[in-house]
Subunit: 267 residues, 2 copies
Amino acid sequence: MSQTVDRALSILPLLAEGPADLGRVADRLGVHKSTALRLLRTLHEHGFVYRQSDQRYRLGARLIALAQEAMENLDVREIAHPHLVRLNEQCGHTVHLAVYEENEVLYIDKVESRYPVRMYSRIGKPVAITVAAVAKLLLADLPENERRAVVEKLDYPMYTSRSTPNADGFLKELAKVRVQGWATDLGGHEESINCVAAPIRGADGRVTAAMSVSAPNVVVTADELLTLLPLVRRTADAISGEYSGRTPVRHTDPVHHPEHRPEKDTV
Amino acid sequence: MSQTVDRALSILPLLAEGPADLGRVADRLGVHKSTALRLLRTLHEHGFVYRQSDQRYRLGARLIALAQEAMENLDVREIAHPHLVRLNEQCGHTVHLAVYEENEVLYIDKVESRYPVRMYSRIGKPVAITVAAVAKLLLADLPENERRAVVEKLDYPMYTSRSTPNADGFLKELAKVRVQGWATDLGGHEESINCVAAPIRGADGRVTAAMSVSAPNVVVTADELLTLLPLVRRTADAISGEYSGRTPVRHTDPVHHPEHRPEKDTV
DNA sequence: TGATGCGTTGCAAGCAGTGCAACAATCGTT
DNA sequence: AACGATTGTTGCACTGCTTGCAACGCATCA
């Protein structure tokens, strides 16, 4: 809506690709060098970009600090954390917490595996949305039309032979996940890593977050990991209860809640 | 320099305090609601703010993802990581990596302690700049005038009785750290936690990052922690060497490098 | 020493951002 | 149920901010 701000903000993802000099920024924006300079200056004053000794610009520290605050303000995260730690103590594997927001799913908390073999992932990193177990849960709960819209727009990279190949397959998977109330990723992202995930619901029954336990084949087989499902679901339900103001949810009966009418947004 | 962008960017730290509605944002900016609305819309389009179901705005997911990329692009981090992991394997304690940028010091990497008692800290979080061992190293290396300027502007919160009380004391501490080439924090931030830190230098000899080992009293005493100093310094030197293109730095003689003339910026 | 490439600055012109006022929508109250 | 109060939203006229240009400073390099 606002051209100037629009241009300024477009600089940031551009710099995320790596440091760039003034000319490059101006080119990519399609504006004169002088205007690019002024925009960069404003971003600099706010600490969003930093000018390194070779005069090139890169993303600044304030951005990182802000993002940190953004995550700490998420109340699901705060409530969930102790539960995640306890779960990790019980099973020893990596535990993740993720949320959905505007076509992206990202990890907002993580407790590292206590086994020496650890998987790579990082808080704040967008997850592989077409295969991750947590992503399936979060997308499965979107209102019908929004879900379709999102699913159609996605890319379906074949990380492994077991990755979700296309939108149709993904919709079917989501339908399944939706009724059964939990999800898995069996080698769909990394050949040798499996995950089990369960949804965390708010007071209105909507899925606001999802959590998962992940472990590589070399530590436990997929079957062994699946035996943890009840534990994972119990943990997720406990978090749900606390999050929605002590209304513990049963996970024994298939979850069913009326198709929500399309709301604008959800937390 | 650019009014519109300036206003738009000012919204973000504001939202970092917590969700706010349109009226509140407009008030804090000192502009009409309609202009605040348009700015928020632009921020929204870029995913920097998110509108929750109660219509209030909060920081968005793209911000978090961007910050993530920002950190992954820091090349010191990439080079240092394996060294940090190895150090952690050797001593078992929490290992941190931090950089300085425009009046802020922040952690950009961390390897968790292998002892059950863990300290709280988080990647991306600004560190207690007046007491942290890594902060001392990074500030001590700033050009004289810049260092004074920064030190004067700081607040000196008394986290504990051993916290740095004021600018004068801090300058003296920095002078000491500067000549000895390493730093400690003995209960200055948390009564029961001690740290030992060593600097990482670029090809020009300037301190570009700092690393530390931290442990609570209940695990090892301060004296015991100090015995790790040689190991920490050796690790830091190894990283320095690799970072500056294999020019291993000796840490045996007191580090001395000519007072740099005030440059605009440093990586 | 001159040429090329970069970042930077003052300026005038025009467009885009601003505040206003009126409207819509939601909510709580009587 | 009707009413005010509050909050978000839109169209519009006007002003002022943003823009591109051209000229300059300052490096590096031939």
